[in-house]
């Protein structure tokens, strides 16, 4: 009797793990066993960390990055270049760009992309908010880093039209051959993009 109750709790934990992205049935069971065998301290630290994230982490009111207050760390950082905004679809893209340490300006997360195929229009993403930030006056360049998908292209074209009249420089990150692969394996759309996006040496 007691044994089956314990298994019930363990199953319940495994079922929660299985709902996480990238976690299969086997991995979920291993994680659940790991938690069971871990010290009480260690296990409760995990529970506490999850609770804290849900209670204190929200989206930045200015750029929609993950934030622990009104503004995110990047928007609050006085050393960042406040004349440049880099536009991404999702906060996860912002994180990838931050890891590269190659950009030092501000961000704007659209929370999605325009999709003529799914009927997602400009009012469904944070385009108007971006226009308002640009109108504020301090911004000199907007770098668009939407995905090279049909949705990302539609979004980039739309933003270009929306922002150009405000007298800012609007650029788009380069798309083409990934670093570390042979050019001969690239498909024709990727190659077209890479040739279009070439630059003088």
């Amino acid at each position: 009797m007691r044994n089956s109750a314990q298994q019930g709790f363990l199953d319940k934990l495994a079922r929660e793990f299985v709902r996480l992205p990238g976690i299969g049935q086997k991995t979920a069971q291993r994680l659940a066993f790991h938690i069971m065998k871990a010290s009480k301290d260690e296990a409760l630290r995990l529970a506490e960390a999850i609770r804290e994230v849900k209670e204190h982490v929200t989206f930045c009111v200015q750029c929609r990055n993950i934030a622990e207050g009104e503004l995110c760390g990047i928007c609050q950082d006085p050393t960042r270049d406040r004349t440049t905004i880099l536009v991404v679809e999702e906060p996860s893209t912002l994180y990838a760009i931050e890891q590269s340490h190659s950009y030092h300006g501000l961000y704007h997360v659209l929370m999605g992309a325009l999709s003529p195929l799914d009927g997602v229009g400009p009012s469904d993403i944070r385009a108007r908010e971006l226009e308002l930030r640009v109108r504020g006056g301090e911004i000199r360049e907007v770098i668009i880093a939407t995905n090279p998908t049909i949705e990302g292209e539609a979004t980039a074209i739309y933003l270009m039209k929306l922002l150009k009249p405000h007298g800012v420089r609007v650029s788009r990150i380069a798309y083409g051959i990934p670093v570390g692969v042979d050019i001969e394996y690239a498909d024709e759309v990727t190659l077209t993009k890479a040739i279009e996006g070439r630059r003088e040496l």
Binding site: G22, L114, V120, P122, L162, V189
Partner: protein
Amino acid sequence: MALITTPAIVLHCRRWGEADRLVSLYTERMGKVRGIARGARRMKSRFGSSLEPFTVLDVTFFDKGQEAQESLVCISQADIREHFPVLREDLGRMMAAASMVNLVLQITVERDPGPKLFTTLREGLRSLQDGADPSLASVVVQLQVLAHSGFRPQFDHCVVCESVPSESTIRFSPRAGGVVCEPCARRSQAACVMLSPGARAYLVQAKRWLVPRVTRLKASGPIRREVEAVLEAYLREILGRRLPSLGQQDPSWAVDPDRQKDRSSTQVMSPALGG
């Protein structure tokens, strides 16, 4: 388990799981098929950009067979046959292509081969790449897609009594699926879209012409609007809801805020008002 290779057009593509894509294809051999492309979102995926909407491919997939109706196939290879760069650069053309592809996506059932429909869609995308008027090309291709999938609208004579309407304004009944003469319209009490003789003549032509010739079809502003209104009302009737991006110039996409308020309305009239 069969391994199938066929020409196909990518209708829709969305994220699936961690790094995969769920792709809807219109294949030449099997009609509409949905499948998973494993790892397609990774930087060095073998699928590259081939699974982007509007691309014409040679695709290879594993099919679990007929009894597994509606089941997903597993896409193992996709080679680009034809791609249309202009459809990624021009919003108006992208929207027109989206309206063609969306109609095929919604009106067809899975695994029902339609080689004519395949050709019509491919020709339609080509015409947009080659500079055809996007809104007219979209209307004509959608009419032909309807015709190839069993929803051919009737413009030649009254769908009820087969008489040729002689009135100066012609009524199109979305419910009846074609034009109706005045007496039949009164009797059926169905809501109708009013058409000028010019718009009706255009619709008759649009159904007959081959898609490549569409590039040469011209229409004045009023005819254009009438034709679009007929198609929109008919699609709303048969699909039961509004398709995304049906209007070529959806006003909510306008950059100028004033134009966003100017939402064009379809003129659907009841027979009592129209007569």
